[in-house]
């Protein structure tokens, strides 16, 4: 017996009798002898619950947690405070033990929550339609590129070098066998170089992908980029940090056709990289080209308002190889957490978080420069993250900081060899002035 398997031996016997066989073994008769496993699986002895908890606590204890370390690391995943209420609600079994809402009559909870999520994402991004979520920000970028190619009938993608390197990598993998060509667009002083784009655009350009705030933390001035892109018959895809959208002009107002991004900052823990969620929103005319689930409002037989998965003829279970994407399971629970987070903070709270991040990042930047050990890497405005040049060895610096229970910044050299010595530092509302001062003092004195 196993605590997750309720049938007793006696019940099993009864069931076998009703089936008309004498042993469970007989039910497996179709499996040829030659491919049977003739031994037990070689796995560790089963653990009791107490032993399991002890083992996993021991394993988790070998990681530095942002509960106990001050975290100045971002680069696409951010250490924000998650209000207690979120975990209580998102861990309600009715939400997390349900399947995809295929039976809308008993899934109105998930469906309405996702409808609300879609509305909030549209508000943040200034777009008309949002899907129910993608796996993460990187796959959302790749899916947006595929969507642009479908919409324009073209195959060329231009991607700014300041888009998250992992998004670019995933974009390349997704494009590997689908005949899409990826062209990198270099930056100038860490931001977009509009003059440089002119030379890259062609009649095969399906989309131009940019990120703001970009990977270096800088806020892009998208000015007349969308005019340039649209005049070429191409689409503009903008990837963004959802928290920054409490303050910054949304992609929709800047002429973007598709907005995507990593939704982790909205109420989802860092979790060593996942599960997060990708959000994707677009202008109305692209609705039927979108990948993934979309929830829509409708009426029941009595005329009551209700919600269903809609425009499903785009999807794999109906269109098979002609579907807009192969995505089936998405990241519904993470989208739910994001919606709860946005509701908990609300209009004023999200603005406040954004302002705290922005002011604290600026304070940290100014203080780091004062130490004399750092110099500006770029000159543009930033939101919650910035790059500084260090006059020493960054790996050693991070190592020393770790000894003092500080998680230091990201060495940009990892992805940009030309940026040797450049350190990407993120600050959120979680870091107190005391932690910042301590960080600056230690970083400046090593």
């Amino acid at each position: 017996m196993q605590r997750y398997i309720p049938n007793t031996g006696e019940q099993q016997e009864e069931m076998l009798r009703d089936i008309g066989v004498s042993s469970i073994e007989e039910l497996f008769a179709d499996i040829p002898e030659s491919i049977r496993l003739k031994r037990d699986l070689d796995l560790p002895e089963a653990l009791s619950e107490m032993e399991l908890v002890r083992h996993l606590k021991e394993l988790s204890g070998r990681n530095a947690s942002t509960d106990e370390y001050a975290c100045f690391l971002g680069a696409g995943a951010y250490d924000h405070y998650i209000p207690s209420v979120i975990q209580h609600l998102v861990r309600r079994q009715e939400f997390y033990t349900a399947y995809t809402p295929y039976q809308p009559e008993i899934s109105q909870g998930t469906l309405q929550a996702i409808f609300e999520y879609q509305t909030m994402i549209c508000s943040l991004t200034g777009m008309d339609v949002s899907n129910a979520s993608m796996y993460d920000g990187a796959t959302a970028v790749a899916e947006a590129a595929a969507m642009a190619c479908r919409s324009t009938g073209r195959a060329g993608i231009i991607v700014a070098k300041t888009v998250h390197p992992q998004s670019c990598e995933v974009l390349r993998t997704y494009s590997r066998y689908t005949g899409r060509s990826i062209t990198e667009w270099d930056h100038k002083d860490g931001r977009l170089d509009l003059a440089g784009l002119e030379r890259l655009l062609s009649d095969d350009t399906a989309a131009v992908i940019v990120q703001s705030p970009n990977f270096f933390g800088l806020i892009e001035d998208l000015g007349n980029l969308s005019d340039m892109v649209h005049e070429n018959g191409s689409l503009l895809i903008v990837s963004c940090n959802p928290i920054s959208l409490a303050m910054l002009k949304p992609p929709g107002d800047l002429g973007a056709d598709i907005a995507v991004g990593e939704g982790q900052p909205l109420g989802n823990p860092l979790s060593f990289g996942g599960p997060y969620l990708g959000f994707m929103a677009a202008k109305e005319k692209f609705m039927r080209k979108m990948p993934g689930r979309i929830v829509g409002e409708t009426r029941d037989r009595q005329g009551r308002r209700g919600y269903v998965l809609t425009i499903q003829t785009r999807e794999q279970h109906i269109r098979r190889e002609k579907a807009t994407s192969n995505i089936c399971s998405n990241h519904s629970l993470n989208a739910l957490a994001a919606a709860m987070y946005l509701s908990a903070l609300g209009k004023s709270g999200l603005e406040k978080v954004a302002a705290l991040c922005c002011r604290k990042a600026r304070y940290t930047y100014d203080e780091l420069l004062k130490t004399g050990a750092f110099s500006p890497a770029f000159t543009g405005p930033f939101f919650n993250e910035f790059a500084v040049r260090y006059h020493g060895d960054i790996d050693r610096l991070n190592e020393k900081l770790l000894e003092h229970r500080i998680i230091g910044g990201y060495p940009l050299e990892r992805d940009y060899p030309e940026l040797k010595g450049v350190w990407l530092v993120a600050v959120t509302e979680k870091q107190t002035r005391k932690e910042i001062d301590d960080f600056v003092e230690r970083a400046g004195s090593l």
Partner: protein, 488 residues
């Protein structure tokens, strides 16, 4: 009390309310326009809800009461393996040393995370007979895409660029052909034979010098074991192709037979099915991909390695197909699967599959006289009936599914696999007791009776849910996909 209609959070919003508490700014309160040029700032804040914490808690609590999860009851959704999700595993995934770890932290500061990934790789490799796993794929379909790209990359590394076709049986999941398309393959469909298995004759005709591989679910979506798999594997391999295993139905065979021993070269597992991690109302799942030795160099980079002293991420993999997701995939989902495997052990996992198969056959035996059984033989972990008998009375599989809601059950998967008319695909899983199965069987018997005596009753179902049948055609025709206040 559950209201019939539930207000949207925007409709209960009142200006000035909020449900968060933030510290005062403790650094110089510079004016934001000093920090960021005005033309980059938005004109008005996004229109987010304004609710108190009490409003928030009640709103989502009430929404949750309009949902049905495994904790509430039986969920025999075929091909989805809706088994019980152990509570302690949820706690383990929430441990601060897992949940609050940044993916870019120095390797020294994440040895526990890397060790867990490495060890889970070893466990899954043993369970499936594979050499190595990657945890980047976020879901089953994502795993399929990854695995197929690996197949493509392997052919190309051998200078063989003619391999453009993937063979997929007509009983396959819709994601199979959709994933093949993203990996740049053309899909060749093979028909099933009269026994519900891959038609070997058709398969032989489909195989040629352009065959890159075959995708197969085994047991297949009819719940039947593809017993000719050794022969199928030989045919594909002799033609120079590779075999892909869709692990959606792995719950049937753990400890009994391993895909690697059957001849499969690439496999994805759905941790949110077989390995008990919750489905979250539509994800997050995890779709780790395992491969045989020859294909290891093609796995997405980085892989997690161990040199006997420390665990590390290995980025120097020149043959890798590249990254398919950021970081290491859905890490805390992997934590839950790891906890599950350690809890069950080898004997426990075998017992899982044995009981899953027993439970499905029990439902088969009890309902076969009332519901048409298109393939009349023992099944594995799921059984596919057809509502053809009931259809003669005007009652469809959809009607039966809706009526089951009134009996308090989640319905089976319906209209899938596509090769069975009016399909009712029932997967009980091992975590259900005989008592639960008996009450479900009784409900199915009652509904069959109702279909005869009062078909209109069944066709009007459900009656007990917060909404009745919803107009899906209207939703798709005039899509309303976000809330807009009346004034807009």
């Amino acid at each position: 009390m559950i209201q019939k209609e539930k207000a949207l959070i925007f409709e209960i919003s009142r200006p000035g309310r909020f449900a968060c508490s933030l510290p005062e700014c403790d650094v110089p309160q510079k004016d934001l326009s000093e920090l960021i040029p005005g033309e980059l700032l938005r004109d008005s804040p996004p229109d987010l809800p304004e609710v108190s914490e009490v409003d928030l808690v009640r709103h989502y609590t009430r929404l949750s009461q309009r949902n049905y999860g495994v904790d509430a009851g039986f969920y025999p959704l075929g091909s989805c393996t809706m088994k019980y999700n152990p509570k302690v595993n949820e706690d383990m995934a929430c441990l601060s040393g897992f949940a609050n770890v940044h993916p870019y932290q120095d390797e020294k500061a994440v040895q526990g995370c890397l060790e867990l990934l490495w060890k889970t790789d070893r466990l899954l490799s043993e369970i499936t007979g594979m050499e190595r796993f990657t945890f980047q794929p976020a879901a089953g379909a994502h795993g399929e895409m990854t695995g197929l790209m690996i197949i493509k990359a392997w052919h190309e590394s051998r200078g063989d660029h003619a391999r453009t076709k993937i063979i997929i049986p007509d009983s396959a999941h819709g994601t199979n052909p959709a994933s093949a398309a993203i990996a740049g393959f053309n899909v060749v469909e093979v028909k099933s034979d009269e026994n519900g298995l891959v038609n070997l004759h058709e398969l032989e005709k489909a195989i040629d010098g352009e065959t890159a591989g075959l995708m197969l679910t085994n047991p297949n979506t009819l719940g039947l074991f593809e017993k000719h798999i050794p022969e199928i594997a030989r045919m594909i391999h002799e033609a120079g192709g590779l075999l892909y295993y869709d692990g959606a139905n792995m719950n049937a065979i753990m400890g009994v037979s391993r895909p690697g021993d059957m001849g499969f070269d690439v496999i994805h597992l759905n941790l949110h099915k077989t390995f008990s991690t919750p489905h979250g109302g539509g994800g997050p799942g995890a779709g780790p991909v395992g491969v045989v030795k020859e294909l290891v160099p093609f796995l997405p980079a980085p892989t997690v390695e161990y040199d006997g002293q420390r665990y590390y991420a290995d980025y120097t993999r020149p043959l890798s197909i590249g990254r398919v997701r950021s970081f290491h995939g859905n890490f805390t989902v992997v934590v839950k699967a790891y906890a599950y495997i350690l809890t069950m052990g080898a004997k426990g996992l075998r017992q899982v599959s044995e009981t899953a198969v027993l439970n499905a056959n029990y439902v088969l035996a009890k309902l076969r006289d009332l519901y048409h059984l298109p393939y009349d033989r023992h099944c594995m972990h799921e059984v596919v009936f057809s509502a053809e008998n009931q259809k003669k009375q005007g009652v469809s599989a959809l009607d039966i599914a809706k009526r089951l809601l009134d009996y308090g059950f989640h319905p089976p998967t319906i209209y899938f696999p596509l090769i069975v008319k009016e399909a009712l695909m029932i997967e009980p899983t091992e975590t259900e007791s005989k008592e639960t199965l008996d009450s479900f069987i009784k409900a199915m018997e009652d509904i069959s009776g109702e279909a005869k005596q009062d078909p209109e009753l069944v066709k009007g179902a459900p009656y007990s849910t917060v909404v009745s049948r919803l107009d899906e055609a209207m939703a798709a025709r005039k899509p309303k996909v976000r809330y807009m206040p009346m004034s807009e």
